[in-house]
């Protein structure tokens, strides 16, 4: 359509142009003819008028030959009509003279010419012309011709257009339509159906190919989308399963933990039951025997007084039986205790000579009964031991009575030697006899419980078969051993070797990890800080004194709780290092007494013990608890910190759960922040009274004073109320609790559900502010 329009317009314009041109040509021709006539006429007229102006005899009739002239008139210079001519059968009204020329209109044109002779105006010539018939015909022909040609051309144009449309417009239109449709419907399956050749064909092919491409891609995209949705579904399901598994796992962990806790509890209870059983059995079994032995003795004394010798002999038999039974019971109880792991060791320092004398006195009757001789070889400077005296006595008695049992009319020698060693001395007790001896097989079975050399031995020699087994166990408990050499028919030598001193080795007291010790912050000043060391172990005191001396402190020592208290009252030390396991007065008692004495309560006490009851120590008033073996650097750092309260920007942990405290403590340590722990509100208050922390980490559920009560108390004291409090609790915070806690605290964290970063973030400002204030 458009093309047609273009064609039409172009064609029309062309024809119009052409037509116009032709018409112009025609016009010009006519004009020229007219001009020719006019010129001649003008010339004639000028000549005539020049001769005779206003002449009326003018040869206008000559114009009759020219068919196109319809009228003519000559005017004088004044405007007076001089002569005129009108073509026959024509009407004419002659106008007044005026200037200008004319244009060939439909039928006539008018020309005015001014007749001049040199400068002189002779007059005006009025010439009116018309197209001649011939002209008219020619003009019509021309027009007709043009119209015909125009129509032909138009037809041609239409034909061409039509052709064009089929080959170009239509395919392109269809292209456009398909495009629109595709866009509208989103259906990329549509294709341009028309087939065309040439460039349009290429365009269509390309367009179709593009649609094909898009369709394929869209298809793939859709597939991918569906796959993605499915995957998302799967992920969602997987997540759900994971969450479920998590819940299950948590529950299982809870269950397992509960089971473990119960198992642990059961084990503890079982162990406790064992101990109580052993103690009870010990009592139950011995009581009747005591009655037998006791009354037997009384009867014997009465009989003795009355001289009833036979009665005495009979009573002796009863008493011997009872004593033997008692021995058996003791052995069985001992072995039970050992095997239950309940055999304890009790260390004391004693002189060896005394023990030996006692033992010798006890066995002498037994030895003599078999006709044996007892020899004791003990150097006078044998010195003392620090070990379990009772067990040593029992072992020696056992070995000596064994020797005596299996020797007749022989010699039994007890030889004691002290061997010096690099770390400690070894005491050797050799019991030699000239008895029946043992074969290697017998030696092999020797220390096994419940076996004797052979079955007949039990019959002949009596005994439970436990004695040696117990002795060996005892020796090992005391870090020593029993060895035996024997030759049948020659004799036997039992050798008991024991370290002269059983005590914690220096490395078990102190760990020097190579880190530098923290020197006293007051070293070099006139007033050196005094530290009181209370520990019953001489080695520990020695090492601590050295260590603290190196760090710049003055030290005093006390070997017992009691002397420690006395010394503390006298010296008023700046700090006390306190052991717990001490005879007579243990560390707990010392702590209590220190706290109850007003002038001593303020002295910071660091508990240094092998025990792990941190909570108890803290609640009794210790400021800090370090486990033996203590890290030397840590100890000196702790002491320095305790003595320097002004440099202390510490975080106060109030929580009765040691594990929860530990988790937070590690974070605080990593930041290099000081912290002290309290197990409940009361302990916390004690610390608060000594020194204000920069922040309090507060648990809610605690025995004694709980978190809420402490919070209340804190608010009542203006100095304490200003300390920021972070709640760290396992409790579910109800709305009410939250309403109460939120305005009074900095933050509420749930145990196990907060990150170290969060806590650090909360505490850092307070600690930094405090640190700045110190400088």
């Amino acid at each position: 359509m458009f093309i047609m329009l273009i064609c039409g317009v172009t064609l029309s314009l062309a024809f119009v142009g052409l037509y116009y041109y032709d018409v112009q040509q025609f016009n010009t021709e006519v004009q020229q003819r007219l001009e020719k006539t006019r010129v001649v006429l003008v010339k004639n007229l000028v000549t005539l008028l020049a001769e005779k102006p206003n002449a009326t005899e003018l040869p206008l009739n000559l114009l009759g030959s020219d068919t196109q002239i319809t009228a003519a008139a000559v005017y004088s210079a004044e405007g007076k009509l001089l002569a005129s001519y009108i073509r026959p059968n024509t009407t004419e009204i002659f106008p007044l003279p005026q200037r200008g020329s004319g244009l060939l209109t439909n039928e006539s044109s008018v020309v005015w010419t001014t007749l001049r002779d040199g400068n002189r105006t002779l007059g005006k010539l009025y010439l009116k012309a018309e197209l001649t018939q011939a002209d008219m015909e020619r003009f019509s022909n021309l027009l007709r011709g043009f119209i015909i040609v125009f129509l032909a051309a138009a037809l041609l144009a239409v034909a061409v257009t039509y052709r064009l449309q089929r080959h170009i417009t239509q395919p392109i239109t269809e292209l456009a339509q398909v495009s629109a449709r595709v866009q509208r419907e989103g259906n990329y399956g549509i294709r341009v159906q028309t087939v065309a050749s040439g460039e349009v064909g290429s365009l269509i092919a390309a367009f179709n190919a593009m649609l094909e491409n898009i369709q394929t891609n869209t298809g793939r995209l859709e597939e991918a989308r569906i796959a993605a949705v499915q995957t998302r579904e799967k992920i969602y399901q997987a997540n759900e399963q994971l969450a479920e598994a998590n819940r299950t796992l948590e529950k299982r962990v809870e269950d397992r933990t509960r089971l473990l806790a119960k198992a642990g509890q059961d084990a503890a209870e079982a162990s406790q039951a064992k101990t109580m059983f052993l103690a009870k059995m010990s009592h139950e079994l011995r009581t009747p025997l005591n009655a037998i032995l006791g009354y037997g003795e009384i009867l014997k004394e009465d009989a003795s007084d009355e001289g009833k010798t036979q009665t005495i002999a009979d009573l002796d038999k009863i008493l011997n039986g009872a004593r033997h039974l008692l021995g058996l019971i003791n052995d069985v109880l001992d072995i039970s205790k050992i095997e239950a792991g309940k055999m304890e060791i009790y260390l004391e320092t004693f002189e060896l000579q005394k023990i030996i004398t006692d033992v010798a006195a006890t066995v002498t009757p037994l030895v003599a009964k078999k006709g044996n001789q007892l020899f004791i070889e003990c150097p006078t400077d044998i010195g003392g031991m620090h070990t379990d005296a009772t067990k040593l006595r029992q072992i020696l008695l056992n070995l000596l009575s064994n020797s005596s049992k299996f020797t007749e009319a022989g010699q039994i020698t007890l030889k004691i030697t002290r061997l010096s060693g690099p770390v400690d001395d070894l005491i050797q007790f050799a019991i030699l006899d000239t008895g029946i001896g043992m074969t290697p097989e017998q030696i092999a079975r020797l220390f096994t419980a419940f076996t004797q050399a052979d079955a007949s031995t039990a019959n002949r020699y009596g005994g439970t078969g436990l004695g040696l087994a117990i002795s060996k166990q005892f020796a090992q408990i005391m870090k020593g051993d029993i060895t035996v050499e024997s030759a049948p028919g020659v004799g036997t030598t039992f050798t008991l070797s024991l370290p002269a001193n059983i005590q914690l080795k220096p490395s078990a007291i102190m760990n020097h990890t190579g880190q530098s010790l923290t020197r006293s912050p007051f070293a070099g000043q006139l007033s050196q800080k005094k530290i009181l060391i209370i520990d019953d172990d001489r080695e520990v005191r020695k090492i601590l004194s050295e260590l603290l001396g190196l760090s710049g402190y003055a030290t005093s020592e006390a070997a017992s709780g009691q002397s420690g208290l006395t010394l503390a009252a006298q010296l008023k030390p700046d700090l006390i290092l306190l052991d717990i396991m001490m005879p007579q007065m243990d560390g707990w008692t010392v702590l209590k007494k220190l706290q109850s004495a007003p002038e001593l309560a303020a002295i910071p006490v660091i508990v240094l013990s092998a025990l792990s009851d941190t909570d108890l120590a803290l609640s009794l008033g210790a400021v800090s608890v370090l486990r033996k073996p203590a890290d030397a650097a840590r100890l000196t750092t702790e002491i320095a910190a305790q003595l320097n309260p002004l440099a202390r920007c510490y975080v106060l942990q109030v929580d009765d759960d040691a594990d929860a405290r530990e988790i937070v403590a590690r974070m605080l340590e990593r930041e290099g922040w000081q912290y002290y722990a309290a197990v409940n509100g009361h302990a916390a208050l004690r610390l608060l009274k000594k020194d204000l922390p920069v922040a309090i980490l507060l648990d809610l559920k605690m025995a004694g004073m709980n978190g809420f009560e402490l919070l209340d108390l804190l608010r009542k004291n203006p100095a304490w109320a200003a300390i920021p409090v972070v709640i760290i609790s396992a409790l579910d915070i109800t709305q009410e609790m939250g309403d109460y806690l939120v305005p009074r605290t900095l933050a509420i964290l749930k145990k196990g559900n907060f990150t170290n970063d969060q806590l650090r973030h909360l505490l850092r400002p307070a600690i930094q502010a405090c640190a700045l204030a110190q400088n």
Binding site: T287, L293, Y346, T390, P583, Q584
Partner: protein, 126 residues
């Protein structure tokens, strides 16, 4: 004759020991529990006390502490008697204030030796 107060809840032990001590020439008074024992200390003013540690109601350590805390009775020597063979009990007894310690079953000679030693240190008030 030196006066001994025996505080022991077990009838047989009480009987045996008191008879044997009486035979050796001691004036023996007996009490069956801590409370009675404390009362008898006041009324009989013994020269030495043999205190069983495992008494009902008030145990031997508590009774000992009370006796040692009161100035009137503090100087009376006390020997603790216990069936427990553990040495820590010895320390416990001494911590409570006992002057000596002996185990049951009682070896009379041994006990007599300890009694004598203590009576020498704290002669009976005439």
């Amino acid at each position: 004759m030196p006066k001994i107060l025996l505080i022991e809840d077990n009838e047989m032990n009480r009987d045996m020991l008191s008879r044997r001590l009486a035979k050796r020439g001691y004036a023996v008074t007996v009490a069956v529990d801590g409370e009675q024992g404390l009362a008898l200390v006041g009324s009989t003013a013994p020269d030495l006390i043999l205190m069983d540690m495992s008494l009902p109601l008030m145990d031997g350590w508590a009774a000992t502490r009370l006796l040692k805390a009161a100035p009137a009775t503090a100087q009376i020597p006390i020997i603790a008697l216990t069936a427990h063979a553990m040495d820590s009990d010895r320390e416990k007894a001494l911590t409570a204030g006992c002057d000596d310690f002996d185990t049951k079953p009682v070896e009379l000679e041994r006990l007599l030796g300890k009694i004598d030693a203590l009576l020498k240190k704290h002669p009976p008030q005439v």
